[in-house]
Symmetry: C2
Subunit: 334 residues, 2 copies
């Protein structure tokens, strides 16, 4: 099955590029509310499921033992931009567990924030693993290891106790088997599993309603999503789509993007989970898609829907800042 | 018509993302040699046609008047990375015409080379229009204006004498009408025209064979393509696909990428022109496609074909540099 075009990229009045994709919107009972394209096709969720991957950090008691509040929990669910506030918070999380950045196994890269990269270079610095966009998640993994008393070395590998906890949470929440046949390696070296797109929509409907969860998991899921919605900057960074989307309606929209054009989202007031994948992996299109889908689902709030559609129709600018085109969600999304 | 998937992106053994596209290979008599997908659909060629856009620089006599050699002509056809050698060469081209960077109307941006950006920031600098990846093309435009004696102000605008010369060259070489209905604005503020993809394949077959060209145009086309093949670094920059492709077989492969997943190419020994567009605009996929197409067309040279397929199957790496996946051209390209 060929997924439909969901976002077109216009230059002037002409379509220059087009992005196909699939979208699943589910309720917590497993009922599909809206599906576009092949939602049964397995996709790697990448960073879009970090809130589920952070469940063991809270459920194990590690988050409480180290005194983590909304910001730390948001950072544990983040693909942050490597801005100073992100780096310092990850450092402080590790310090509370008696660790430093040398324990991180995610690898180093320059901040995804261009401004943060420039500032670091101007100061004569160079990046370490704390600047990695996944350093909050990895700090959460390490804190969990320390709290439950397992050796943290190799914590990124399939089979390590930490990744087994993460996999158990992913399987339980999404209802999809995460076996070796579905497994590959994420950019930050942890396992990532390709399972049907719709499983993630169901998973986030469960996360936001806690349907079927025991009391500990229900509390943890609520805390993590609430933390992300309360501190969106720590989930992403300055100027990022995830921040703009969550700030558009504080407490009413949870979103988290992942590499290769994935988004997961949840809408508390409707009890719905959303998962989408742009076929070609483009982040710009995935951002437009998730904004358009949420605008449609929350259309009753006209002011909010208009703001979300503005985000969905992001401008394309020339190097002198003139608007020369725009992204445009197709009729399939309206 | 839905274009076929031409490149898949694997993570482990699983297809994570996929890129569709169309490809046209033509000879100079207008005969299609190989076509995939909808090659009649209009596409903006963006920077992939800079060698055609540079014809007036040579044909007007400006290039000779200012003593431009291969490097300057390559830079006039370039989307360079803003490395110091690119910036200094653009500056010297302008100086020969009595101008400096304040005449450039392309806008400024940080070098597309990450290393060049870091070096500039570490030195306390900031970018000007010379760092714009199009500054060589714009310097060529400005030198042409000065040489032919037209006021250069507004040289980026449709209707200015310079853009009329460029449009005339584009129309004559591609055989496609470039009217106001086809026009939009490129990232560097000049007009760009969406015409059928196959026109660009025909255009580059003509550029490389000079079929149907008068003696001045024939000489100019030969000089420009030869200059790019002789000095590929000045067409792109360190580590770039265009450089790797042209260096793989010096003098036998001309390629030039453009924004939004476009490539134009020409193979002198076969007298063929190639044009392709990745539907979704992804550069990574367009690079893989052009390498795979050329590998197929030059398959008789097995060592070269193997090198090109290596470039077509670029690895995907984790942040610690482990290979976790790869791009893979599909059967449609083999």
């Amino acid at each position: 099955m060929t997924n439909p075009v969901l976002v077109e990229v216009l230059r002037g009045a002409i379509i220059e590029s087009a992005h196909r994709g699939a979208i699943a919107v589910f309720d917590a009972d497993g009922k599909p509310v809206w599906e576009i394209g092949d939602t049964a096709r397995p996709v790697f969720p990448r960073s879009a499921v970090k809130a589920i991957q952070a469940l063991p950090l809270v459920e194990s008691g590690a988050a409480d033992a180290f005194g983590f509040g909304n910001r730390e929990l948001a950072l544990a669910c983040a693909s942050h931009s490597g801005e100073p506030a992100h780096v310092e918070l990850a450092r402080s999380m590790l310090a509370k567990a008696g660790l430093d950045e040398t324990a991180l196994e995610c690898g180093a890269h320059w901040p995804s924030s261009h401004d943060a990269t420039l500032a670091l270079a101007r100061a004569g610095g160079s990046p370490n693993a704390l600047h990695n966009n996944c350093s909050g998640k990895h700090s959460g993994f390490l804190c969990t290891c320390v709290h439950v008393g397992v050796a943290h070395k190799g914590y990124v590998k399939a089979g390590h106790a930490e990744q087994e906890m993460v996999r158990d949470a992913m399987q339980a929440v999404t209802g999809a088997a995460h076996g070796a046949d579905e497994r590959a390696t994420d950019g930050c070296s942890i396992p990532t599993y390709a399972v049907p797109l719709r499983s993630f929509a169901l998973g986030f409907a469960r996360m936001v309603t806690t349907t079927g969860f025991g009391p500990e998991r229900a509390k943890a899921a609520k805390r993590l999503l609430s933390a992300c919605m309360a501190e969106p900057f720590f989930v992403a960074g300055t100027g990022r789509a995830d921040v703009a989307l969550m700030q558009a309606a504080p407490g009413r929209i949870f979103v988290k993007g992942g590499a290769e054009g994935v988004y997961c989202a949840a809408l508390p007031e409707l009890g719905l989970g959303i998962a989408l994948k742009c076929d070609d992996g483009a982040g710009r299109a995935a951002e437009s898609m998730v904004a358009a889908v949420i605008a449609k689902l929350l259309h009753a709030d006209e002011i909010l829907a208009a703001r979300l559609l503005e985000l969905a129709n992001a401008p394309i600018e020339s190097r002198i800042g003139a608007k020369v085109g725009a992204l445009m969600p197709t009729a399939a999304l309206s």
